[in-house]
Symmetry: C2
Subunit: 487 residues, 2 copies
């Protein structure tokens, strides 16, 4: 028998990743007593097993590649990246997976932490299973589910007997495998292929489709494929995995049988084949929702199909945009919504208002830290066409921009902007090339700010920076419109 | 005796730097017969003796510094930058000072080039002194002065006998001097101190005032001073130069006598003490203007104090913003104005319209390529106060931004945004830190686009990038307003 205690508070947040932390920060700042429940580390997937360690592995690899291409610097490099130093750096960036700093932050924000597994137990109720017994919480105003997602692994013959890698193992491994096979072609697959190849592994990437990064512009994916191949990655398209088998115990080689019956032998096998919601064991069934499913919400992140306005789903778990920064944005909005309702105020559902996650639909930015980097916001040209949006697509070779050649004399890159000709605004942009990560926010501001194209001519990019791509894109739009007789 | 020929065209442009090229491009594209006159190289100061070669010297130095600070990469570097390789790279970036590529571009744009010295000779008339005689041009619609600026050197005892460096020699030198003394503390002084120190020179910087970069935020200047000192630069403030003397012929050491009577001995002496207009020998006196002065214009770049609307002054020469990119912006506006007047159309002087260089006054971006980089748009807090603008200044330590620490684990930097509380928009921003050059355009879009602060909350910065500084600044503004009871 375990002890039981009962507590009542204003808000319970399930999951203390960046999203849960931000919801709790906002509700606590609004004067609502807030309890956050976490079964693993405070800081969540992002801080320990995703964005932070992956970027810590990638940045030295990408910086070394940039340095290698630069006259007067490349010749100074004595070898490939110093793997042990990079891994030690990665461990420092994840605080050696010690969450005391994050716990202190929660404390300073006035948020109470309960370590344990939380499950919804009917409307406004959460039960937490802790080491010391069960804690039963009643939330006066809101329960916010911020449990995120985990790697989705296909049920293949033999997969349970092979200690495979998912994004967790791929970002936390203590040494580079001699051989690494990556299954998948999305962001995790391309980033981890880039990182471990740069740290010395022989890498094979098995992609079911015919291209990498299917949710991004294909010209960007092609540039990444080109550089991965030049770096020695064996990139195979149109390949499926039929079964897997580990020859002996852990540490022994893995035999991957492909759809055509051929075999690939590897030391580690990374499945980067998508994400699944962490909702299978959080009591959703007690409030009429399906466990194991993504949770639908409206633009205020209030769960739909639940009686009353008390259940919120924020971050990956609502499947609107599986990105840390977008989840934190959602958290700020959801926190404001919870606070408004607690004060008895009306929720302002106006697009772009404080209670609407409008950006989710139209202005989600993403940076892929590959060589070259890909930075994109809004739909791709193909996604826009599928959605029935009329857009003008304007392309320009980034390698023709003076500031890009200064950044990297062997610059290879390309940019595309998508313009809505009726509204006269930018609706999307993709930059693919070295050093474009920070350039993205200019496009995000233009899209979210609905800045008219005519006004963007007055936003002068500094010379000589890569940002001059803006001028080239605007000039190209002008000239193409003139040639088409539409200007 | 030389031959004389007479020509009539629509537009004459004096000076074929980036600014003149862009005016000519726009007027030629509008169907106006356009002649451009250049006495040196087509492409101008920027392409051969300023922005392009300086950035080509600086980027390898700054990239090496970034690489040196990165775990797993820094340990691979075997020494300081390979100076010979950097200088060869610089020469390639300036096309070995061969302007044939630029000449071909003018040709493709339909612009006629005359090589020679052009002088205004009364209203709408220009005389060009060429190797083959004099060409007398009559412009039906416009003469655009785009002759730019040159280094301003103080008249000090001995200066004419010393072959000093100006920005030209500092960006085109064939080898690093053993010792370099830089007089000045502005952009040229700090960038060239950074470059030549990185390429092996012993560098002393003599600054009359008490800080570097007086037109930028002082916190940014302090960061640059700190890194310069760490790199071994001897930075001296409150110092004036009384006289200079070269001991023997060229190649011998220079003796610099300071205001306090002390001496500094150097191999080369760079005066980076400001700019002067190149208007002393272009015939301004024939149309009632003063030779050797900056030319005043209105927002359409039409010269004031000249009868009729035919004389334009574009770029450095009008002293509105001495930056290549801003000059090119002015050129696009001026070209549109000239074309409109030639068609007999009204000039639309509305702020932010196609015929007004509105950004000059409020949204001029600038990047200083030092370690750390400084990227700024709009006024500084001090400039805003002097101009009587009410602004809220919001500061944040860039080193606390996760994406910044990923970029450079030893990140040192700081950002400031200036908000107009009545209009609810950003009016200025300064970012000082490694890798902020491309981040600037997000602020330029926000300022020129007058995007409301409330909307900027929906412009989500990608994690983990340096751009998350935007979120931190907005949060700080929110919290400071709450603490002040103004939100």
């Amino acid at each position: 028998m375990t002890d039981q205690t009962e507590h009542t508070c204003d808000v319970v947040v399930l999951g203390a990743g960046p999203v849960g932390e931000n919801v709790a920060d906002r509700t606590a700042a609004a004067g609502l007593s807030t309890v956050i429940v976490e079964s693993e580390l405070v800081g969540g997937e992002c801080s320990y097993w995703a964005c932070v360690p992956s970027k810590a592995l990638l940045r030295p690899v990408l910086l070394r590649a940039e340095a290698a291409r630069m006259p007067g610097v490349g010749s100074l490099l004595t070898g490939p990246a110093d793997t042990a130093a990079v891994l030690a750096h990665r461990d420092r960036m994840v605080s050696d997976r010690d969450d005391s700093g994050q716990v202190a932050w929660l404390d300073s924000a006035g948020v109470a932490l309960i370590r344990g597994r939380g499950r919804i137990d009917g409307p406004r109720r959460v039960t937490v299973e802790t080491d010391d017994g069960e804690i039963r919480l009643t939330a006066r105003h809101a329960v916010a589910v911020c449990t995120g997602s985990r790697a989705a692994v296909p049920q293949l013959p033999g997969i349970d007997s092979v200690r495979i890698w998912t994004s967790r193992e791929a970002t936390s491994a203590g040494k580079p495998p001699g051989r690494l096979v990556v299954v998948g072609g999305g962001v995790v697959a391309t980033e981890m292929a880039t990182a471990w190849r740069g740290l010395g592994s022989r890498v094979t990437v098995l992609v079911r489709g015919e291209r990498l990064l299917p949710r991004l512009e294909s010209f960007a994916a092609d540039l990444v494929a080109e550089r991965l191949r030049e770096a020695g990655v064996d990139l195979r398209f149109g390949v499926t995995v039929r079964s897997v088998e580990r020859a002996g115990g852990a540490g022994d080689r893995v035999d991957v049988t492909l759809g055509d019956g051929s075999h690939v032998i590897t030391d580690e096998l990374l499945f980067a084949t998508g994400r699944a919601p962490r909702t299978d064991d959080i009591g959703l069934e007690t409030v009429g929702l399906d466990p194991g499913r993504w949770i639908d919400t409206d633009d205020s992140y209030t769960a739909t199909g639940v009686h009353g306005e008390w259940l919120y789903a924020v971050g990956d778990v609502n499947h609107r945009a599986l990105l840390t920064h977008q989840g934190k944005y959602q958290a700020r909005v959801a926190g404001a919504v919870i606070a408004a309702r607690a004060r008895g105020e009306a929720v302002d559902a106006t697009a772009w208002g404080p209670h609407a996650g409008t950006a989710d639909g139209v202005a989600v930015p993403q940076v892929v830290f590959t060589d070259p980097e890909i930075a994109a916001v809004g739909p791709t040209a193909e996604q826009a066409a599928r959605a029935g949006l009329e857009v003008e697509a304007v392309d320009y070779d980034l390698g023709q921009v003076s500031g890009a050649r200064q950044y990297d004399p062997g610059y290879r890159g390309r940019a595309r902007m998508l313009v809505d000709p009726r509204r006269g605004v930018l609706v999307g942009a993709t930059f693919a090339g070295p050093g474009v990560a920070e350039l993205l926010h200019s496009a995000t501001v233009a899209v979210a700010g609905e800045v008219p194209i005519d006004r963007l001519w007055h936003a002068v990019p500094a010379f000589p920076t890569i940002s001059e791509i803006w001028l080239r894109l605007l000039e190209t739009l002008r000239d193409e419109r003139r040639a088409a007789g539409t200007a």
